[in-house]
């Protein structure tokens, strides 16, 4: 139950660079108004970011393209997508993904 000095500084630094982007736009943009096209642009950002994160997890390993034929994560993603669309449940999606990958790794 101790905190190593190096880990302490890694966490502190990571927390700081996470905190600033979280609060800065809220603090500044509430003072000035965003034009219509700006709001429209912002409305696409969460979708683009989440799609990019999913793509990286599924198709990129250590900076290289993950082969499609051996990609169990990609196969596990299919039932996750299906459950997400059918149930609209975050929990259902996560549990399905974890179980699917666990089974796939057990089989292959």
């Amino acid at each position: 139950m101790e905190i190593r000095l190096e880990i302490f500084f890694i966490i502190l630094g990571a927390a700081l660079v996470t905190f600033i982007p979280r609060v800065l736009p809220l603090m500044l943009l509430s003072r000035i108004s965003i034009p219509d096209w700006g709001m429209r642009w912002l409305s696409f950002v969460p979708i683009a970011v989440m799609a990019a994160l999913v793509a990286q997890e599924l198709f990129v390993t250590d900076g290289r393209f993950t082969g499609l034929s051996t990609n169990v994560e990609l196969i596990a993603a299919l039932p996750s997508f299906w459950v997400a669309v059918k149930t609209r449940s975050l929990l259902g999606t996560v549990v399905t993904g974890i179980l699917a990958l666990m089974l796939l790794r057990l089989l292959f």
Binding site: E2, L24, P46, A48, L101
Partner: protein, 254 residues
């Protein structure tokens, strides 16, 4: 006499009326924020739990896991930190990677800022400090029918999610002591599955299927290409900038 009496009381009365306007049907209370957070709790409980297990198996102590979930409080960043610490990466490269991945919060924070114009910068700082993909998602759905979001409601939502995350991490950390490889249990898939769920829920709530799916596909292609040709941490940023711009331009044309 009576109108005069009201006149005298008008400052307090005005404030009362304004409060009444801001709290329609008792829908914007702290407690309502807590309630609106409930549907997401189990999902994040499982992700936080997986994060705790992964952090523990990466060699972090319980105290370090408590610290990271309290002051960093970001799922993707915590998975990345655990992986990079286990791989022996330098402190500076870990912090830079997390900075880039979490730059998306700039965009979430900016997207939600119009609904908090009624608050001063310090109060906005408190709202933003606990902003996550999850609380953003719930708040954006709440904002669909209104011009502003209640501060108390947002704190109820944020603080509930925060406590849930901390407890899930600690529970995962304790169980992680007995799990040698989280991959065997598929736990490393908690993060991508969470993003799949959030993505699908967001697209379905917006009902702009064709446009959103187009933007999503462009983001996928840009993210993969930039990650392979340049660096994975730039992939997310490039995808966000390019795909959102294309989405905006297409919507403008229509």
């Amino acid at each position: 006499m009576k109108p005069e009496f009201i006149q005298q009381e008008s400052p307090a009365n005005g404030r009362l009326q304004q409060d009444a306007l801001e709290v329609p049907e008792g829908n914007d209370t702290f407690l309502q924020g807590v309630k609106d957070c409930l549907p997401t709790l189990l999902g994040y409980l499982s992700i936080g739990f997986a994060a705790g297990v992964v952090e523990k198996t990466a060699g972090l102590s319980i105290a370090e896991i408590a610290m990271i979930s309290i002051i960093l409080y970001a799922g993707s960043a915590q998975f990345i930190a655990a992986g990079m610490i286990a791989a022996g990466s330098s402190a500076s490269s870990i912090i830079i990677t997390i900075l880039l991945v979490n730059l998306r919060h700039l965009l979430l924070s900016a997207a939600i800022s119009p609904y908090f114009r009624h608050l001063n910068p310090l109060r906005n700082l408190l709202i933003g400090s606990l902003l996550t993909d999850e609380t953003f998602g719930v708040a954006i759905q709440k904002s669909a029918s209104r011009k502003r979001i209640s501060e108390k409601w947002m704190h109820g939502l944020n603080i509930t999610a925060y406590l849930n995350w901390f407890l899930a991490n600690i529970a995962g950390a304790f169980l992680g002591q007995w799990i040698s490889s989280p991959e065997k249990w598929g736990l490393d898939f908690a993060l991508p599955a969470m993003f799949i769920g959030l993505l699908v829920l967001t697209v379905m709530a917006r009902r702009k299927y064709l446009l959103d799916i187009t933007v999503g596909f462009i983001a996928v292609i840009v993210a993969v290409l930039v990650s392979i040709l340049w660096s994975p941490s730039m992939g997310v940023i490039a995808a966000a900038l390019i795909a959102s711009t294309i989405g905006m331009v297409i919507e403008q044309w229509k």
